[in-house]
């Protein structure tokens, strides 16, 4: 492991640990209001100040990071699983099944990602509890983000299906399911794992976009999207620079994920 990658992994693990312990290290709850000091600048009590409703910004940042940082991998896991099942099965079976699945995948990929997301989000109830909105947002990201990964997995599964060791396994009488489970899937794991890592920053950015547009996680639960939405109410960039802390953290986290994925694994 090279040093930028080690640093990135270290940073992500530290941040995940801090967010996991948010209940102990955050100065207050994410919804607790200090009503006498709304929009306060940074101080000893509130390191990043308070928002318009008097809520401690640092606490909201820690809890919001927890939501985005822990649920984006969850969504990535869901989409990678879907991609593995769809892509591996299509690639393994080949023929008309592969053609139909790949045509459906191409159709899915031709839809602009954000249009698809807001359409599906609008199909679900908008006025829901904060926890349900988190589940809806990330489940939707997971269910809609499989197409690109499935295409890659399918191509690899097809190439593996035509390889000599699969031919030998077939010749020795292994059943289709056994071939898939014991021979194909273990060889696809590195690829699926890479697709999992690639999906995480994509989903973090998608949630941020949805949150800023008011279609993500519902208030008062914070997420990077809802925290960044505060930028909308500022009049200029220089008025209160500490309010850009969520943005800087988002850039740092997404950069770290990009560093974790090596050049070899990144799509060209």
């Amino acid at each position: 492991m090279n040093w930028p990658r080690t640093l990135a992994v270290g940073f992500l693990l530290t941040l995940a640990l801090m967010c996991g312990l948010a209940a102990f290290i955050a100065p207050s709850g994410y919804a607790h209001q200090f009503r006498d000091i709304p929009s306060a600048p940074p101080s000893h009590q509130h390191w990043l100040g308070t928002d318009d409703l008097g809520r401690d910004r640092l606490s909201r940042l820690l809890y919001g990071t927890r939501v985005s940082l822990l649920l984006a991998p969850g969504a990535a896991l869901l989409s990678s699983l879907l991609a593995a099942i769809i892509g591996a099965t299509a690639g393994f079976l080949g023929g008309w099944i592969q053609r139909v699945v790949m045509a459906a995948t191409d159709l899915f990929l031709s839809l602009p990602w954000l249009f698809l997301l807001i359409t599906v989000r609008a199909l679900m109830p908008l006025n829901v509890s904060p926890v349900f909105s988190v589940v809806i947002t990330f489940a939707m990201l997971g269910c809609l983000g499989w197409a690109a990964a499935a295409r890659v997995v399918c191509a690899d599964a097809r190439a593996l299906s035509n390889s000599d060791f699969i031919l030998l396994a077939r010749a020795s009488g292994a059943s289709g399911f056994r071939l898939l489970r014991r021979h194909l899937l273990p060889n696809l794991m590195p690829l699926i794992f890479a697709q999992f890592w690639i999906s995480i920053p994509v989903f973090i950015l998608a949630e941020a976009n949805l949150g800023i547009l008011g279609l993500g996680v519902a208030e008062p639960l914070p997420s990077w999207g809802s925290l960044l939405r505060e930028l909308e109410s500022y009049s200029s960039i220089s008025s209160s620079p500490w309010q850009f802390a969520p943005l800087l953290l988002l850039i740092a986290v997404v950069s770290c994920f990009h560093l974790v994925i090596t050049d070899r694994e990144l799509p060209a």
Binding site: L114, T119, A122, I212
Partner: protein, 283 residues
Amino acid sequence: MRRVAQHIATILLTVVLGGLLGATLVRFAPGFGVDEEELDARRSAASIEALRQSNRTESNVLSFYAHYLGGMAHGDLGFSRTLNRPVSELVSDRMPETLKSVGLGLILGWILGLAFAIPVAMSRSWALDLTAGILTGVLLCLPAAVLALLFLLSRAPARLVIALIIFPKVFRYSRNLLVRTAGLPHVLTARAKGLGGLRVFLWHVLPNAGPQLLALAGVSVSLAFAAAIPVEALCDLPGIGQLAWKAALGRDLFLLLNLTMIVTVVTLIANSSADLLARRSAA
């Protein structure tokens, strides 16, 4: 000719299947067939029943879809409940604005991307590569909505945001592609024979990389349309993206479905054109 027909058939099939899928989703979305006018206390029981009856005509998915397709064939894309106007009118009003933003964003994004990628690939300057790498790395970490907000705060032209979304993707892909192509044996031979940098690029690198760059051009249209939503919504540009956002917030599913279909068809046409051009240039 056969390939053109194949692409047209794909687009038509996409419209039919996508429409059916969309109609099914709309039909089974929570709240379908319920009119908020039912809550109006001034309405009589008979009036509410009549309202429910009129909504019930759309309750079957297939008849709902057939009705929708029939309307579409006659240029009727339905009616927006939230904006109280026909969808076709809304689209024709707002499409030019989006096409302007997306067109400008694509042109600028590609110019920027290639302006960095070509010198990096041809000169192999590590300083330029590092600078462009860091710049595009930061841009890739920013959601389109945040870039739009930053442009709004700094009072910069909002249309440039789409260019900054396209630029890093074009740069990364074309840089890798051009570096790989510039390392091919025939390019090295041309260099060894003393050909100038421009001639090597135009005669030996570009013809090889061209088809793949054209494929990326098709994909970048889809990226630009997706970026148009936050840019137009947050920077108050009256285009299709802003309309889609308003439709999503107002749960105007019919309008949203039509907009998604229209944008999908536009991106499919762009992808098909890019594919056909790429095959032609490769041949």
